[in-house]
């Protein structure tokens, strides 16, 4: 049953990648809404995905900080990788930004996603300590 679930997860992701790209994974892009329950902030993660083969995926993109009313307050750079582990897709990302006043802010985020590419995440950074929340796959805005 577990093997079947793993295979199904892999098939869904490969189909999603194929549908969103040319012959290879050039141009494949996925977006997630991230919400860790803060009253004022939610996040949009937008990443390009490149298939390195054998279940290894490289990620490059942005994490946008938004108010709950949708106003953009920061665009941060995100990079990392995605791996199929058991029946979950796990993503490890590092995010950095210069929000002003010559200060580098760095954040680490780890996602655990199910076959539908929805799931949860943990994030930790220099200024706010630790958070966790829900990651919901959404259509990427223009």
């Amino acid at each position: 049953m577990k093997a079947l679930k793993t295979a199904l997860t892999a098939v869904v992701f490969v189909i999603a990648l194929s549908a969103s790209a040319f012959a290879d994974t050039y141009g494949a892009q996925f977006c997630w809404n991230m919400d860790d329950g803060k009253t004022n902030e939610v996040y949009l993660l937008k990443v390009g995905v490149m298939d390195f083969g054998r279940g290894h995926y490289s990620l490059a993109g942005t994490k946008t900080v938004l108010t709950r009313s949708g106003t953009k307050s920061a665009v941060q750079i995100a990079q990392g990788n995605m791996e199929l582990i058991d029946s979950n897709y796990e993503m490890g990302l590092q995010v950095s930004d210069i929000p002003g006043t010559n200060t580098l802010v760095v954040e680490d985020i780890h996602f655990v996603l199910d076959w539908s590419l929805n799931g949860y995440y943990y994030r930790v950074n220099d200024t706010e300590s630790k958070f966790n929340g829900l990651a919901i796959l959404v259509q990427c805005p223009q």
Binding site: Y26, G27, T62, I77, N102
Partner: protein, 157 residues
């Protein structure tokens, strides 16, 4: 006359391919780029950053490479780099990278993991600009960050 028609058709196909190719290449041209990173305190060159850029599409770029830095004892330190590059607006090309190495730590008396983070704010035309870095990043502690200038240069090393 038939030959002319064939040639015209070939030219039209070629033009189409060129237009498509130009569209696909819009933005940063993938390849290997090198930067000279000046020290934040004006004390000279901190190191050379040699990074290969791969286009993931939709304005997303992955970067991998090395940072080479001459040491005071005459040796050269080479650290590994991986990160991402994005055109965040028309005037800013941002790059965030993580740098790792196993270096001798005098306090520990043994080799230890070194992690350094860099974030660059580059001019999209000159691909040069300021960068900020933190030494020995630890996610749960406040890091001291400082900046310098990264200047695009010819890859000669």
């Amino acid at each position: 006359m038939k030959g002319l028609k064939v040639m015209a058709l070939l030219m039209a196909v070629l033009a189409g391919v060129l237009i498509l190719n130009t569209k696909a290449q819009a933005g940063i041209v993938p390849g290997t780029y090198c930067w000279q990173a000046d020290a934040h305190n004006g004390s000279g060159v901190l190191g050379y950053h040699r990074l290969s850029i791969k286009d993931f599409g939709n304005g997303h770029y992955s970067v991998v490479g090395t940072i080479t830095a001459p040491q005071t004892n005459g040796t050269v330190s080479v650290k590994l780099v991986n990160g991402a590059m994005e055109l965040t607006d028309a005037n800013t090309l941002e790059m965030g990278v993580s740098v790792t190495d196993a270096e001798y730590n005098t306090a520990l008396g043994a080799n230890a993991l070194t992690v350094v983070d860099f974030h660059y704010l580059l001019n999209p035309v000159t691909m040069s600009g300021p960068y900020y870095t933190s030494s020995n990043h630890n996610s749960v502690t406040t890091t001291k960050s400082y900046g310098g200038v990264a200047t695009l240069t010819t890859c000669t090393y």
